[in-house]
């Protein structure tokens, strides 16, 4: 059975590119455009991994991450934070609140794929 990935970002073009990328690698993909929608999708779609943008309207990626870690839908849910703000403090903050990895935009598609696969244990 295919692993499921939820992509959360308010930039439609980034969503398009990530969605295409992940589908091509054989994952089942769902998308959300903001934090609230992401929470809803986590419940309905039950992803294995979330690619989560930090700067979003309504609910930031940090808040989503915190909410998921405080009340985890499944114990092995992986969270990869995506941010365009590259400051060290943000990286530290993301990891501190329970993100499994932190990827700075713009990213290398190959690296991202390798990383996601590694985390999901897909060879």
């Amino acid at each position: 059975m295919n692993k499921k990935i939820l992509i959360v970002d308010d930039e439609p073009n980034i969503v398009i590119s990530l969605e295409f990328l992940m589908k091509k690698e054989g994952f089942e993909v769902a998308v959300a455009a903001d934090g609230d929608e992401a929470m809803a999708k986590v419940a309905s779609f039950d992803p294995d991994l979330i690619l989560l943008d930090v700067m979003m309207p309504k609910k930031s990626g940090f808040e989503v991450c915190e909410a998921l870690r405080a009340n985890p839908p499944r114990p092995d849910l992986l969270i990869v934070m995506l941010t365009a703000k590259g400051r060290d403090t943000e990286v530290a903050k993301g990891l501190a609140i329970g993100a499994d990895a932190y990827v700075t935009k713009p990213f290398s598609t190959k690296d991202l794929v390798v990383r996601v696969k590694g985390m999901l244990g897909v060879a």
């Binding site: 073009n13 590119s17 713009p106 990213f107």
Partner: protein
């Protein structure tokens, strides 16, 4: 038996012995450095104010004047509340080793022998009769006891008063002249006075309780009985006709509590700790209340009891107990009266003898060739001898006056006459403490004037009433001149004699003091003393002294001087204390500088008065005489130093203020730094976002050549769009930076805003058509014209229009552009029927990178810089840009550009 002569003599002797024991104990403790003078003892010792004139005389006054006897005690109560004045007196006296009121006044006005002598003479003339009154009171009380007693009078009792005077003189000598203390302090005497104050209070309370509760069944009952007699009822009521006298007596007694020589001695000279004054402020008045509470009841009781008989109301306190065979009580009362007289006589005589010795005898001695010849002799013994002689002389004078006056009016009325005499010191004292311009000439003139008026209007008339001198000057006026009538000067009649005297004497005194002071030039010494007295709280009293003395001195001679007047033992003691104060053990090591000279002079002043000390010191040191101008210069300098230090303080405050301003500025800079950091971080984010899509998509295109064609086309389209967005963003950031730093280029000219609006509408037309949004306009055909850059205004309008089209719903969206004139500005509105903004958003949209709304689809087209840039542009031309909106009611962006000033 109880009232036999020998028993009474024994009792009186024992009581005086007890007082003496108390005094010895006090002195012994003082010598051992364990003073028994506490705040309570100090407060009680002030009750030396209550003499036998209070003890016996108050009742007498109450039988004729009703409540008016109380004024004598209300004045002191009020005066003591002005404790600041008293503390200043104490502080000055300590700093200058002042030992009497004469010394105080003399020292203030340049250590003047003349003034010291004048004050002493006034005090002696004013107060000796008061001492005589005490002798008379004791004698009278003995008469009453013996008139009732069974024992025969011994022959030597015939002149019991002389005996009393002699005993009191001996006591005073023992009490007062044990040694010459540097400050003339007598702790043993103070302790004894405090003790006798308690005794006389208890004695009076005892007789008061006896009469009130024993004979008349309580205060209420006594008052009720007295009220039945109109004669007595009158005594219990205020008498508004005597309002002036009432006030005058309060003023008079308020002055007397400080200026009677014995009061000055106790309050100022004998004060060991300034904080004691705080206790005296209320405890002494409380004492006065207690000793007066039964005066009126006893007076009424006596009047009722002895109604119709021949009686002397002054002795009611004795005759009432005797009439009821309460002999023990009578003896206790006698002791109380003796106590009151003794306390007064001792303190008053010591104070007067100090003044007589230092201010009358010493100046004369210092001038005599005999003393100059005896350069090496120890004179401390001589000084003690002079004091003792003065004590004997003063008491003898008192006795002679008593003998001469007898029952005459001159004695009975002397209490208030004395008060009026010492009240003459008030202007020179008070003004001297608070007014630097007061001069010696003024003080002499004032004192002489006031004293003369007192003599003429009060003392001499009292002699006349005693038939010692003719009373023509009272009845017809001096030389038959009516306006010179002694007790109706210038026709001012209708007043009682005390008020009359007080009015004219103080008028003359103050008037002369002020007038002469303002028209005379002080000497150098006066000016420096005035400065030190008035500003005593500012500098410790010493500081300017050292600079005010220039010259050379020999330590040997100064020490010789001290040894001569203080005695070698005492001199050594004080020298060692002085050396210890300067952190060495041997005074011989210390230089004979200005400080040493001042130390020596102060020590001498304690022994022989400030004026004589000045003369003695001046005789052994070579002094440079400073002129008045020089002294004033130095004092000015002191004032300047104070001014500088104040200035320094204010500079320091300014510096502190500047520091905190700097800190605040620094804080602001940090804040700005943080904001810049945030800004850069935001810019980074905005730049990275399109880059992310571009990179991801181009990598996928690059990595996968077999990608479907429509995916390729779609991705390439996105890449082109994002690249455009990136370009726009960079341009706007640069634009913003130029605007903010003021480096933007402007081509300003006359602009037809209507025309600009039409062009803007045309250029965005396609956007509106694409989204099927209706764009309408209300623009005048030509004008209005403003001074601005047309391209920039176009930029603003296009920005507003593209914002509007972004947020209105496709199909049903409506946008309206209006151009018009409002007041002195052109007003341009771009309104839409979009979702509208909250009040908070209305502000936020003008901040950088704050994008309105959150519609995902429109986002890439905004940079978050359009509105901030537009606002900068509009404000550059002197206008405003703002938005009026409510959620759900569309938004109305408005900007104004001022019309050019009309030209002629």
């Amino acid at each position: 038996m109880l009232l036999s002569g020998w028993f009474i003599a024994l009792l009186a002797g024992s009581y005086l012995g007890l007082l003496f024991a108390v005094a010895r104990y006090g002195d012994a403790r003082a010598d051992a450095g364990k003073s028994i003078i506490t705040a309570n003892v100090y407060a009680l010792s002030l009750a030396v104010y209550c003499t036998s004139w209070t003890f016996y005389g108050s009742v007498g006054r109450a039988t004729s004047g009703g409540l008016s006897f109380l004024t004598i005690y209300l004045g002191p109560t009020l005066m003591l509340l002005f404790s600041g004045v008293i503390l200043k007196m104490i502080r000055i006296s300590k700093a200058h080793r002042i030992t009497s009121i004469a010394d105080f006044i003399a020292s203030r006005y340049g250590k003047s022998h003349l003034l010291a002598g004048l004050v002493t003479i006034i005090a002696v003339i004013g107060v000796v009769p008061y001492i005589a009154l005490q002798l008379k009171a004791v004698a009278a009380s003995l008469d009453v006891l013996f008139a009732d007693g069974s024992g025969p009078l011994l022959p030597w009792w015939l002149d019991s008063t002389l005996l009393i005077a002699v005993v009191l003189a001996m006591f005073t000598i023992w009490f007062g002249t044990r040694h010459l203390d540097a400050t003339e302090r007598h702790e043993g005497m103070v302790a004894a006075v405090a003790f006798e104050s308690v005794v006389k209070l208890l004695a009076f309370l005892a007789v008061g309780v006896f009469v009130t509760y024993g004979l008349y069944g309580g205060l209420a009952g006594l008052f009720e009985r007295a009220a039945t007699s109109p004669e007595l009822a009158r005594l219990m009521q205020p008498d508004s006709a005597k309002a002036g006298t009432w006030g005058a007596l309060i003023l008079l007694s308020g002055l007397a509590i400080v200026f009677l020589p014995r009061q000055f001695q106790i309050i100022v000279v004998e004060n060991v700790d300034e904080s004691h004054v705080k206790r005296a402020v209320w405890l002494f008045p409380l004492y006065l209340v207690l000793i007066n509470i039964f005066v009126l009841p006893v007076a009424l009781g006596g009047l009722m009891h002895f109604a119709g008989q021949d009686f002397n109301p002054d002795t009611f306190v004795l005759t009432l107990p005797l009439a009821h065979d309460a002999h023990l009580l009578a003896l206790f009362v006698f002791i109380g009266g003796l106590s009151a007289a003794t306390g007064m006589v001792i303190v008053e005589t010591i104070a007067l003898s100090t003044m007589v010795c230092n201010d009358l005898v010493m100046p004369w001695l210092l001038r005599s060739p005999w003393l100059r010849g005896e350069q090496s002799r120890d004179l401390s013994g001589l000084l003690l001898g002079i004091r003792r002689a003065a004590i004997v002389l003063i008491l003898l004078l008192g006795y002679v006056y008593f003998r001469a006056a007898g029952e005459a009016y001159a004695l009975v009325g002397i209490g208030l006459i004395s008060f009026a005499a010492v009240a003459q010191f008030a202007p020179a004292m008070f003004c001297g403490m608070y007014w630097k311009q007061g001069t010696r000439a003024g003080a002499v003139a004032g004192l002489l004037g006031g004293f003369t008026v007192w003599l003429y209007t009060l003392l001499l008339p009292s002699f006349a009433r005693s038939q010692w001198i003719g009373n023509g000057f009272v009845e017809q006026g001096l030389f038959g001149l009516g306006w010179l009538k002694a007790q109706a000067l210038f026709g001012l009649g209708g007043m009682d004699e005390i008020s009359h005297c007080l009015l004219w004497s103080l008028f003359a005194n103050i008037g002369l003091y002020v007038a002469v002071s303002l028209n005379s030039r002080p000497g150098a010494m006066e000016a420096s003393q005035a400065e030190q007295f008035v500003d005593i709280f500012r500098h410790g009293g010493r500081e300017p002294d050292a600079r005010l003395w220039r010259g050379s001195a020999s330590q040997e001679q100064l020490v010789g001087l001290l040894e001569r007047f203080l005695g070698p033992a005492r001199a050594q003691q004080q020298l060692i204390a002085y050396a210890v104060g300067r952190h060495t053990s041997d005074w011989r090591q210390l230089p004979a500088d200005a400080d040493f000279v001042h130390f020596a002079e102060a020590e001498l002043a304690g022994a022989i008065g400030s004026a004589s000390a000045r003369v003695m010191v001046a005789s052994v040191v070579q002094e440079e005489n400073l002129g008045l101008d020089e002294v004033l210069d130095i004092l000015d300098e002191a004032t300047q130093v104070r001014a500088y230090s104040r200035e320094l303080e204010s500079k320091q405050r300014a510096l502190e203020a500047a520091t905190s301003e700097l800190r605040a500025a620094n804080e602001r800079l940090r804040e700005l730094d943080r904001m810049k950091d945030d800004f850069i971080s935001t810019v980074t984010h905005e730049l990275r976002t399109p880059l992310t899509s571009i990179r991801a998509l181009s990598e996928m295109l690059h990595d996968d050549p077999r990608l479907a064609l429509d995916d390729r086309t779609r991705f390439l389209g996105i890449i082109v769009n994002e690249a455009e967005r990136l370009t726009r963003l960079i341009n706007q950031i640069l634009d913003m930076a130029r605007l903010e730093s003021g480096r933007a280029e402007w081509t300003t000219g006359r602009v037809d805003l209507g025309q600009v609006a039409r062009e803007a509408i045309e250029s965005v037309g396609q956007l509106f058509r694409d989204k099927a949004v209706c764009l309408s306009s209300d623009i005048p055909p030509s004008g209005p014209v403003v001074m601005a850059d047309p391209d920039r205004l176009m930029q603003v309008l296009i920005n507003l229009l593209s914002n509007a089209v972004k947020f209105v719903p496709g199909g049903s969206g409506q946008v309206m552009v209006r151009v018009g004139v409002a007041g002195d500005a052109v007003r341009v509105e771009v309104s839409d029927n979009g979702p509208g903004l909250t009040a908070e958003e209305c502000k936020l949209v003008f901040e950088k990178f704050r994008q309105g709304g959150n519609t995902l689809t429109d986002k890439p087209q905004g940079t978050g810089l359009g509105l901030p840039i537009s606002r900068q542009i509009v404000e550059y031309f002197g206008g405003n840009l703002w938005v009026e909106s409510h959620p759900g009611a569309g938004a109305n962006f408005i900007f104004t550009v001022p019309l050019p000033a009309p030209e002629e």
